[in-house]
Symmetry: C2
Amino acid sequence: MTAADQPTTIEWIEGGGVTTPRGFIAGGTYANIKTYGEAPRMDVGLLAAIGPCTVAGVFTRNQVVGEPVTWDRRVLAAGRPMRGLVVNSGNANTVTGDQGTRDCERMAAIAAEVLGVPAEEILVASTGVIGRQMPMDKLESGIRAITLTEDGGYHFTRAIMTTDTREKSCAVRVEADGLTYVVGGCAKGSGMIHPDMGTMFAFITTDAPADRAWLDATLREVADRTFNMVDVDMDTSTSDTALVLASGAAGGATIDAAHPAAHALLDAIEAVATRLARAIAGDGEGATALLEVIAEGAASLDDARLVARTISSSPLIKTMITGRDPNWGRVMMAAGRSGAIFDQRAASVWVGEHCVLDHGQPTSVDLAQVSAAMAGEEVALRIHLGAGSAIATAWGCNLTNEYVSINADYTT
Amino acid sequence: MTAADQPTTIEWIEGGGVTTPRGFIAGGTYANIKTYGEAPRMDVGLLAAIGPCTVAGVFTRNQVVGEPVTWDRRVLAAGRPMRGLVVNSGNANTVTGDQGTRDCERMAAIAAEVLGVPAEEILVASTGVIGRQMPMDKLESGIRAITLTEDGGYHFTRAIMTTDTREKSCAVRVEADGLTYVVGGCAKGSGMIHPDMGTMFAFITTDAPADRAWLDATLREVADRTFNMVDVDMDTSTSDTALVLASGAAGGATIDAAHPAAHALLDAIEAVATRLARAIAGDGEGATALLEVIAEGAASLDDARLVARTISSSPLIKTMITGRDPNWGRVMMAAGRSGAIFDQRAASVWVGEHCVLDHGQPTSVDLAQVSAAMAGEEVALRIHLGAGSAIATAWGCNLTNEYVSINADYTT
């Protein structure tokens, strides 16, 4: 029996985050870059690995990308171990022309100087308004003012928030092959989240020693089931970034696909990513409910993913939940425009536990009960396409007046 | 010099609509199917051709379609001349199972009986809530109660409205090859409008005698530049229908591609379709502004259409306009995720007359002036991709709190 057949026991670590795994220190500070909002908020952060670490990254599929995405892709392509990640919120350094390119290089260089490593070993992530030059004086003062500590993950997490209302971080511990590995993570989400690349930022750390190619494949596989299945609105950011940094401080042999702990470590990374993805969806701009959509009975995994994501991102579904309106026909409408192939007379739909459509025939369910199933902080929609056996889950949130207010006044 | 090289003189007919062209009568009535809203509103309508007429139709690309769409596709495929169109609002007869199929057939049969023609010569269109059985008693009484008149287009237009706040109808007159042709039209739009098939309903009539194949090709060509370039939200209805009915009452030879009046008649149909498309966009649910997006310098027409439609449908662009927020970077964000190929350093962006990005470099434009260009009932955004010479125009609207309120409470 191989390890892959054993269920992994995931132990959640209360209050955990990116500095819970051994080998990482972090911090954040107030640099006055994030000028909107009432009170000053942290907006510059630094995460450092005590030694060289292995990193995998996935980025936005938007054709227009922020300068930090271009920088990160380049330094990761070089394949060398990395030493740190410098972040800011309030300005995305995107569509900022040649000046923006120089500013991003400078941002990496300042962090590198602080950590005493080459600039090419520093990753960069910036989020915020697009098309404005980065206030470099404020940024430089901020980076130099950060105090790095072993419990600084909380400050680092606060520094990447924009319209997020809650910090999103967690950590887990797994035992595998006689050793204990810890995986932590933090994320920012809120608006401009789309399935093309779920989260704005998700940074995951682990003290496991990881093979670069295995870590890369693992992040892609996990992101497809988590961050890429989250939607807040239909827009995709120019800066979306998910990184996994592995310090190796837990000791033991480098984990690759053949290592007995590989399956447990993947499960731990997926547990952290799933919790972050759900937190991003539930904290969508103005959202008051998390929407979980399961599409099953699809002819292919692609179809299942398409249907789940189309339903979870439909404005008409999202407003229906806000109003607890039992207008379940919209689920079929969204599935129908997803591009997935199915016969509407073979499809069934559930709202919570209530079957509202049974093989293409509307049921005589009490609509008041359907409405009641849409109250609460989590709403579940399920569709069976009757076209095969593939299944996928997507997460979204409801659409409220608050979303409109937030986005009508973002830069002013 | 061919007629195609001559600009067509389009004469607008004040107060015109579907009964302005010769050969059509119409009417509408109150059947109490559309029960939401404060006051009773017309909800059943009938449009009849005095003699057999040639019809072309295009329908939603949603996999899930209303029973009337299935019916219309079948009777149009038979290729015989048609005699009438029966419509209702308040119930879409969609995802209604076998009962819904029988009800749609019955709806056509009742209208056919009223007009004294076979049921297979009647087109059907239903809009409203999905997944509820049609109240057939009310519908039948309604159809039988309608008075058909030569100026009944106004009542017919009112009968197809759902959350629309204004009637959408118009008519034009063109002179070509020694004869006068009239083209009229009406539409309903508002929510659930998406580029996959712009309008919920657009019904165009003309007294020109038209060749079936030419009319079909003309409608497809015109719809691609008009109804398919309109977006209110990202959802696509299960019932979207655009029809052109040609009575031939103007006399003269049948118009096909080789007829000297073909170009003028296409221009007249496109003028009506463009006005209806703009009216649909400007009257989007809760909208206070019409958004016109021009994408130029694209590598292909497909890319230009993709960019224009992605920008016009982006929630972040739509809320930006509501707030008159000069956050123009969102235009690049939307263009970037459209799938079109371009180099962000070659792109330029204008808000109204103001250039905010020049070949990838932000300009020093006064953001207060950019904000001012987003006031008013029409807002113009333009992007030059620097990738070729293709151009396309799309229409959308802003996103307001009112959209959320309308859609949170649609069926309750």
